[in-house]
């Protein structure tokens, strides 16, 4: 049994397990000590506590020095004060020193209002900086998805933990020492040249404005105001499960209808759903799975199994950089975002009587990697991208605020047709396990020719980093693997590479939790319990849908009849599939 100890915090007695930090013990009695460098992602079992910033100091009776509560352990009989005069003065000094090397950009900073540094400075009542010192000046690094403004970095190194430990990408490291130190890619190259996958997990945990997304809202406002452009929008599944948080709504509230109304109010000509394209992805990816599986069962030795999902561009970037030797294993199906684009510009545009060059396709995504994905060359026609640009959930929230809408009281409207109609299968794409569940629903019926009685595959759901399940396809047992977070993906991938696994299909999502935990979502400030709540919201929307299998979506059926022909057919291959690149640095002998 765990040994329990008793101590006093702010005159209240508290009992905790031995080894508990002072910070956690304080939380137990409702005392929130401010923290900056500390980050505890409980569901991922990751605690980052370098003890570097010292904003969390507390006073311990009988000790000469103040203790950083985030990485100091409680001891029996301790008497801790979390807001004595000495503590508050020390915190203020720490904050003033940090601010003395921080640009005074708050009024125009993208993070303003959502910045931990700003919030804590305000809470501490810092009104004046008593220290003048040299300020760092770094060049701002702008990539297609992420902007690094290291003048605003406070060296908490949370981004490093995300990139190196959670994602195992290793794009970032602390470099130099002392005043010169900063977090940067190797050789201080631009992020774009590094092995970064644009998963955005570093952005999601950065407490300041040092890491932010590349903002496309001004471009959007310009296009919406241009009478010669037809601007259509697609919204990813995960957005509706999180957008409400930006307006103070309870975590896990579904705001699908309000979001549609808001987008219409903003002036989009049509409001469509990426879920429609997700259904299309299932048609293509599911067909590819069955083709490969069929060939395998017939004894074809060359066929590659398992098939890996390819709908997450962060994951695509990851294997292109880290596992290029396996680039023929993932499905060639494009992500839903990139399926929506060509259908909109080649099919819908004709239906609407709009010229391709006059149509602007915008996507609202929980994701930063999609910002990069939509401007990859293979997704352009004569330089015109299928999807013009991608806006994050956070950016959409800001735009709604700019447009003076009271989001919470907005009425609820429906998506436009035809590309707004989707099934429950498309909705659950937004959470880990959802893509493979959606694919299973369709593949099962196509393969067995039978109707699936129970569409809920609970074995595929959950938040564990790596999961596996067996699904019975009428006598044929399919082994399915699921990984979310790139560190987990790496583990599964290494098993596949080393021939240690017997999966038929694997779903991989770059972000912990899947897209609901994407780098463009409302910031969870380290509280990963929001992920399960967002996932539950998506499963609720799925359960409430009349149609829950992608191949039963009437508009998808019509699209194949009128335009595409058959899944994985010639036109599909041209418009809906892609190929991958080897992006690994090769060491060449000179």
């Amino acid at each position: 049994m765990e040994q329990m100890i008793k101590l006093t915090i702010d005159n209240k007695e508290v009992e905790v397990a031995k080894g508990t930090t002072m910070l956690t013990a304080a939380k137990q009695i409702g005392v929130e000590i401010p923290t900056l460098c500390h980050m505890h992602l409980e569901d991922m079992n990751i605690e980052h506590n370098p003890g570097g910033c010292r904003i969390c100091v507390v006073e311990v009776d009988g000790r000469r020095n103040l203790a950083p509560s985030c990485n100091s352990k409680c001891e029996a009989g301790m008497n801790i004060k979390t807001h004595s005069m000495r503590v508050l003065n020390a915190r203020k000094t720490v904050m003033e020193l940090m601010l003395s090397d921080h640009p005074f950009d708050c009024l125009v900073c993208a993070k303003s209002g959502n910045c931990d540094l700003q919030t804590i400075a305000q809470n501490l009542g810092v009104r004046e900086i008593h220290y003048a010192g040299a300020k760092s000046t770094y060049k701002v690094d702008t990539s297609p998805a992420i902007i690094r403004d290291m003048d605003k970095c406070i060296m908490c190194r949370r981004c490093e933990t995300m990139c190196n430990d959670v994602q195992t990408v290793g794009a970032l490291s602390a470099i130099n020492r002392g005043f010169e130190s900063v977090v940067a890619p190797a050789f201080e190259m631009d992020l774009e040249k590094s092995t970064c996958t644009y998963c955005g997990q570093c952005v999601a945990v950065c407490p300041t404005g040092a890491l932010t997304e590349k903002d496309h809202t001004n471009q959007l406002i310009r296009d919406l105001a241009n009478p010669n452009k037809t601007v259509v929008v697609q919204t990813a599944p995960a957005v509706r499960a999180a957008l409400g948080e930006e307006f103070g709504m309870e975590v896990g509230t579904l705001v699908t209808g309000k979001m549609v109304t808001a987008l219409r109010n903003l002036g989009f000509d049509s409001v469509f759903d990426t879920d429609f394209a997700a259904d299309l992805t299932i048609m293509e990816e599911g067909t590819e799975l069955l083709q490969r599986l069929g060939a395998h069962l017939k004894g074809d030795k060359d066929v590659k199994l398992p098939i890996l999902t390819s709908c997450c561009p962060g994951w695509v970037n990851f294997f292109e950089h880290h596992f290029p030797e396996m680039k023929d294993i993932p499905s060639t199906a494009r992500s839903p975002q990139q399926m929506f684009g060509p259908i909109a510009k080649n099919y819908l545009a004709k239906e609407m009587g709009v010229k391709r060059e006059d149509m602007i396709v915008v996507s609202i995504m929980p994701c930063l990697a999609k910002k990069y994905e939509c401007q990859r060359d293979e997704f352009k026609v004569d330089g015109d991208p299928d999807v013009n640009y991608s806006i994050s959930t956070r950016e959409l929230a800001n735009l709604i605020k700019q447009a003076n809408m009271d989001f919470v009281t907005l009425p609820e409207e429906d998506f436009d047709n035809p590309m707004g109609e989707s099934t429950g299968a498309g909705v659950i794409f937004g959470t880990t396990g959802g893509v493979i569940e959606a694919a299973t629903r369709t593949a099962y019926e196509v393969y067995t020719g039978k109707t699936l009685e129970k569409v809920d595959f609970n074995a595929l759901r959950g938040m564990e980093g790596i999961r596996s399940a067996k699904v019975d396809f009428d006598g044929l047992e399919l082994n399915i693997g699921i990984a979310h977070g790139l560190g987990n993906a790496r583990k599964l991938l290494e098993e596949v590479r080393d021939g240690k696994s017997n999966y038929h299909a694997i779903e991989i999502m770059a972000c912990p939790g899947g897209c609901i935990g994407g780098g463009g979502q409302p910031l969870h400030h380290g509280d990963t319990s929001v992920l399960a709540k967002r996932a539950a919201a998506l499963y609720r929307e799925d359960a409430g849908k009349a149609i829950r299998k992608s191949h039963e979506n009437p508009y998808i059926i019509k699209l194949y009849e009128e335009f595409l022909g058959k899944p994985c057919g010639e036109l599909s291959h041209k418009l809906l599939h892609t190929h991958y690149f080897d992006k690994k640095n090769e060491i060449e002998i000179e």
Binding site: S173, F187, E188, K584, N585, I587, I589
Partner: protein, 159 residues
């Protein structure tokens, strides 16, 4: 696919060095020491190979190289100059000597003059405090150096 170019014998040497430390990521600092000892400096290509061999990220290797002042990414000059910044040297004006050197050679600490002749670095105490401030150039040691001596000392190497 970006290419990193490095001569064959250098790659082989690096692979050997890494092997002698069992390709352990935790031996990174020792590996880098050996590599610098062999090549004189640690250019990006060398760091890429080390990262690959030890299975650590290049960013991490670069982080370590930039953290420790004894690692350098630029080739040292024909005559590497080191100024001792130990306490004794410091209080006796080593900083002024350093400033004077930088002024004459027009390069910052850690870099090499364009003609490849001189490079400047700082050292922690070299243990010759009696001679403070101490400057070493190549194998030679100069004691009790004053800022005013710098020009004359450098002249010895001018041709």
């Amino acid at each position: 696919m970006a290419k990193i170019k490095l001569a064959k014998d250098k790659i082989e040497k690096l692979i050997d060095i890494c092997k002698s430390f069992n390709n352990e990521g935790s031996e990174l600092i020792n590996v880098l020491h050996q590599a610098q000892h062999n090549f004189g400096y640690l250019p990006a290509e060398v760091q890429e190979v080390v990262a690959r061999e030890l299975d650590v990220s290049v960013a991490h290797v670069y982080g370590v190289v930039t953290f420790y002042s004894f690692f350098t990414m630029v080739p040292m000059g024909e005559f590497p100059i080191s100024v001792c910044m130990g306490t004794a040297c410091y209080v006796r004006g080593a900083e002024k000597v350093l400033e004077e050197l930088k002024k004459h050679l027009k390069v910052p600490i850690g870099e090499t003059t364009e003609d490849g002749k001189f490079s400047i670095s700082c050292l922690r105490c070299v243990g010759a405090c009696g001679l403070a401030p101490v400057v070493t150039i190549g194998e030679r040691t100069y004691g009790r150096v004053a800022a005013g001596d710098v020009a004359d000392i450098l002249k010895e190497y001018q041709n």
